[in-house]
Amino acid sequence: MKKLYSNKLVIFSLVLPGVLVFVFGVLSPICLSVYYGFTDSTGMGEAHLIGLRNYMDLFHDRVFGRSLKNSLFLAIGFICIQHPLAILVAAVLDKLQGKAEGFFRCIYFIPNVISVAVIAYLWKFIYNPDFGLLNHVLQAFGYQGQINWLSQENAIWSVLIVLIWHGFGWGMLIYYTGIKNIDPIFYEAASIDGASWWTTFLRVTVPLMKPVIQINVTMAVISALKQMETVYLLTNGGPSNSTQFAANYLYQQAFKAFKYGYGNAIGVVFVIICVLATVGLNRIFREQQDV
């Protein structure tokens, strides 16, 4: 058995495809990015090594700073608006029994399976000042006047709304699963003590859900950092970079402004930020668990 399980050739053959896909799909593009980050490449023709100049420029680049601030804004928006709502709805849904439970769970998740391409275009119509759904809804509630949802001041909020709507089902589902895994004994104890639903929610459900909340918060921060597709189609970072994000910015710099080298430098910093954020959050939460 031991001999069979340590046959080098067999091990090699089993691991090779995975390693190849990783090297070809992830590692080599990152390495190439590091190289191009040190050049003044325009995407075509010859490129010259220019040392750290791209990184110096990036350090002073206001738009990049704005991109990171926008990611932070999204992350806070997810954590303060989407997640409390999701956890609350999950807790209410858990109390519901029978067919209705599955029905609501199914409905909440539907937006999530729809392509961002459709979602972004649909919301462009919803936000349309002339015939959009949102202004019509406001009119139905008696508000007169037109709001330009995608103006410089409002656009980032509008992006947040789309993302909260689109991702709500996902967050809800994970909290819902977490709540289902809570031992009913805790609830029985709470009800013997005469605790109200709200007290039970705050004192029993939420504390027991801490690990799930931590996973979800980590994922919220990461997805705020990685945001690109929705913004690319909805606002393309505009008006005047008010909804710019790192991934969209590097794409624009490389393919629209023909600063391919600079775009790659942004990419390298972007990867580093994402890795640091993931590792950092995991470490913070792990230390908390140990205490």
């Binding site: 058995m1 069979l4 399980y5 340590s6 067999v10 091990i11 089993l14 691991v15 495809p17 995975g18 390693v19 896909v21 990783f22 992830v26 593009p29 990152i30 990015s33 609350l88 709805v89 519901l96 599955g102 609501f104 769970r105 199914c106 409905i107 909440y108 998740f109 539907i110 399976v113 729809i114 392509s115 961002v116 391409a117 459709v118 649909l122 919301w123 809804v137 009119q139 709507w165 709500f168 589902l173 994970i174 819902y176 699963t177 977490g178 996973i215 950092l225 990685k226 690109m228 597709e229 189609l233 991934a247 590097l250 790659n264 990419g267 390298v268 972007f270 994402c274 993931t278 590792v279």
Partner: protein, 278 residues
């Protein structure tokens, strides 16, 4: 008194759930509603319309001019291949790292799973160059490689966990019977992993089915473009015909929604399993 309270709570519960359901669903109902009318009807004041005449021909135009069938076929083919690749590769690699005895097993496993932290969009620029150099742009490989590469870490992570939970005794018995490693992996382990394979397949499908950023970067001709391009490339002659644009959006969203509603229990379970462990 107590009973009364409980009834109020129940009504309140239903109201909350219904409001959320309306918010989640109404934009989609709006979409379908207006896709069946004519463009002029968009400028009414009501929230929804009752179309004067139901215009099914909007969907006809969307189907034909949106190139629906071609893009749908590409999406199904590419995503199925990506799922098969991810499942097979991750089972093999996870087995080798989890069960077999070699020095670097821990390191290789960690590195493969770490790929999860790398943002896909950072590879758009360099991959564009690489595929260009290797003459892979505009081929099916330009999508298959990155789709597999970015779903593999998750697949690997899930499979490692699942393989861990299979008792060693089964394999020991198989070895005594003279089974080779490959037979153990594919004939003994793989069938036991069936629920986990479903999870990995669902996660991979959800990750890639709606992807369009890489597709629009690495592909230039319509040959391998996928379903989102029905929407993305549908303007031009219909740029002022909103109703037909709505129809094309509804049509593009339909396959995923229909499959989700049919398989909703399995998908819910798969996502819950995958996400909590991921």
């Amino acid at each position: 008194m107590k009973k009364n309270n409980r009834n109020i709570a129940k009504v309140f519960m239903w109201i909350v759930l219904l409001i959320v359901a309306v918010i989640q669903l109404f934009p989609l109902i709006w979409l379908v509603d207006f896709s069946l009318g004519s463009s002029n009807e968009m400028f009414t004041n009501g929230l929804l319309i009752i179309p004067e005449k139901i215009r099914w021909d909007n969907y006809g135009k969307a189907f034909v001019d949106g190139n629906f069938l071609h893009y749908f076929r590409n999406s199904v083919l590419i995503n199925t291949l990506a799922v098969v690749l991810v499942v097979i590769i991750s089972i093999m690699a996870a087995f080798a790292c989890q069960r077999m005895k070699w020095k670097m097993s821990g390191l290789v496993s960690t590195v493969l799973v770490m790929g999860m932290m790398i943002p896909i969009h950072a590879t758009l620029l360099p991959n564009y160059k690489i595929y260009h150099m290797l003459h892979l742009t505009d081929t099916i490989w330009a999508l298959l490689i990155p789709y597999a590469a970015f779903s593999l870490p998750q697949g690997m992570f899930l499979m490692t966990g699942f393989i861990q939970s299979i008792p060693m005794e089964l394999e020991e018995a198989a070895v005594v019977d003279g089974c080779g490693i490959y037979r153990i992996v594919f004939q003994i382990i793989t069938p036991l992993l069936r629920p986990s394979i479903a999870t990995v397949a669902i996660m991979t499908f959800l990750n890639n089915w709606n992807e369009f950023m890489m597709a629009s970067t690495y592909l230039s001709s319509p040959k391998w473009k996928t379903l989102p391009f029905s929407v993305l490339e549908f303007t031009g002659e219909y740029s002022s015909n909103y109703a037909v644009q709505f129809a094309v959006m509804a049509l593009t969203a339909a396959p995923a929604v229909i499959v989700y509603i049919i398989l909703n229990k399995h998908i819910t379970k798969g996502v819950a399993m995958g996400a909590v462990k991921g």
